[in-house]
């Protein structure tokens, strides 16, 4: 998959494009995989990213980009079938297993992924990471959410605000 510093991308049947991370690492991937990103899709359709040019992504570092591309490569075949009614249950189960595994990561990596998915507008990845964060939030009090998501300890003012909120929205705390 990700092949840093790789040369031209037009060998074989599949068209390749080169993406350049914020730290100047070059990634060569199939155009179909990169096109899961709405942001990249237009550039790629216009013929960009091929050859030695590469598409610079100043907001995404190499560690995050390699993770993003891992997702795109896995999901590209299913997306190419357009939601695939002919996709077998086994395929779907395999993708589901991959997704669960995929978001089982450190919080800082997760947050980087959220930003990258958002910047690159990769719909599937956006909802996958959003769902992960939602699961971390569900059923918790504001204080527990702060702890779970790695906020620093609240200041007395913030604590007072939380208490006031609890009084105002009693129904949400039952």
């Amino acid at each position: 998959m990700a092949a840093p510093e790789s040369g031209d991308g037009n060998n074989g049947a599949a068209r390749m494009v080169t993406l350049i991370s914020s730290d100047n690492t070059r990634f060569e991937v199939e155009a179909a995989a990169a096109s899961l990103s709405q942001t990249l899709q237009l550039t790629i359709l216009d013929g960009g990213g091929g050859g030695g040019d590469g598409i610079p992504l100043p907001n995404v570092d190499s560690a995050t980009l390699s993770k993003v591309l891992e997702y795109c490569i896995k999901h590209a075949p299913a997306a190419a079938n357009g939601g695939a009614p002919n996709a077998t249950a086994v395929d779907r189960a395999e993708l589901e297993r991959f997704d669960n595994e995929f978001v089982n990561i450190d919080q800082s990596v997760l947050y980087s992924l959220i930003m990258a998915a958002h910047n690159l507008e990769i719909e599937g990845l956006q909802s996958l990471v959003a769902k992960k964060v939602a699961d971390m939030i569900k059923g918790k009090s504001p204080m527990e959410i702060r702890r779970t998501l790695g906020f620093p300890d609240p200041t007395p003012e913030e604590q007072a605000e939380m208490n006031a909120h609890m009084l105002e929205y009693g129904w949400a705390y039952e």
Binding site: T25, S112, Q126, V133, I145, G150, F151, A172
Partner: protein, 445 residues
Amino acid sequence: MAADPEETRHHHKETQVSDLPESCLAYAIARTTPRDACRCAAVSPVFRAAADSDHVWRRFIPDDHHHRSVLLLHPSSSDRAAAKARTKDAYLGLCDGGGVPVDGGGCRVWLEKATGAKCYALAARRSAFPGTTASSAGSGPRTQAPACVSYGGWLCRFGEVAELVDCTCLDIYGRLSAATLTSATCYAAYLVYGTAEGHRGLSYPDQETTVAVGGRVLERHCVCLRPDDAETRKFKGAGLAQEGGVAAREEPRRREDGWWEMEMGRLRTTDTPGEEEEVVASFEVFGWYPKRGLMVEGIEFRPPCSARHGLRRGRNDMAFKTTMTARYAISSRKALNTYSSSAVRCPSTCGGTSCPGSALDDRMITIESQIIDAWESMRAGLPKRARKGLDSAFLLTGWHIWKARNSKVFNNCTMTAAAIMENIRQKPMWSAAGAKALGCLVPRE
């Protein structure tokens, strides 16, 4: 390139939750529940902006409610407050105020605040059966005894309340298409009721509620709308109840609006929306002693108030598994004078074998037509007085079977068929119960 200090710095900079922009947070919060979203507003200023955003609350409003939320957002163009109203306020508007009428004012619908689940109230219907005469509170005099009050759904919640003036049998039900409920949600059905002054016959726990989906009974509860020890003792004194009869398992609860409510049972909707099956919640009082004074406001379907007590649940299940047997339904289609319509349901204590709870409904046998036909053909050739006696005999026989069933269900005391027959033959007791015309039927001893 690997030595590039620029790169090293990028690699070690960890993204914090505080780095996430509002739009990303809103995207995640929209995948929680309204309750969680509301709590998120207290987490931090960025979280508050995200959690209060229209993106989040639009997702919590069901598709079929969107047109109404638009009305809530813009009640009138000149309203300055409305111009600033957010989707969150519209959502909260859909939750409050007892719901709005839908389907031509037939039923009221609202959203449960914490989950966003659609809730329904089916109101009392005036007359679903031919000959049924429930009176409407506040409109005209009370009319003649309703035999069965039924709720076919789709009637206004507050315009009409069914009051049971006098009846012997009672069977109330509310129906709803499962497709109208929010998917993958736990629901409970509630009977919303009150009692008029001088009510009677509602205190003894021989009452049952069921919830069924697509004809399959999911839950069956013993209930008692008006638990009252004194009246229960009276029943016992009159021989209508066995000593030590069990208390109802479900307790009524006083609502904020003054009505009482009784949980009828629960169901869980499937994950696939648009299911076509029908949900039926029913309430039934066994036995044909007189009942009066029940006022029914309607039947509600909504997520349950609280998690159910595990112990109570277990006992409930067991009682039915071990004691319920096949059920027979006997009802008089042509009403008698005294008993305008009586449905005596009695499980076959006489000779029936216990079957496991799961097979309960498969064994429900309706012998209505044969019994009634036999009854009617027998009545046809009799003089008036003998006819009265025959009617009494029929009903009292049914009563004895019902009483035996009660002792089996509530006291776990099984009677043999022979013992029940013996009871039925005890004429003096029958006469004491007011069956005057029996004498001309039963051979004199």
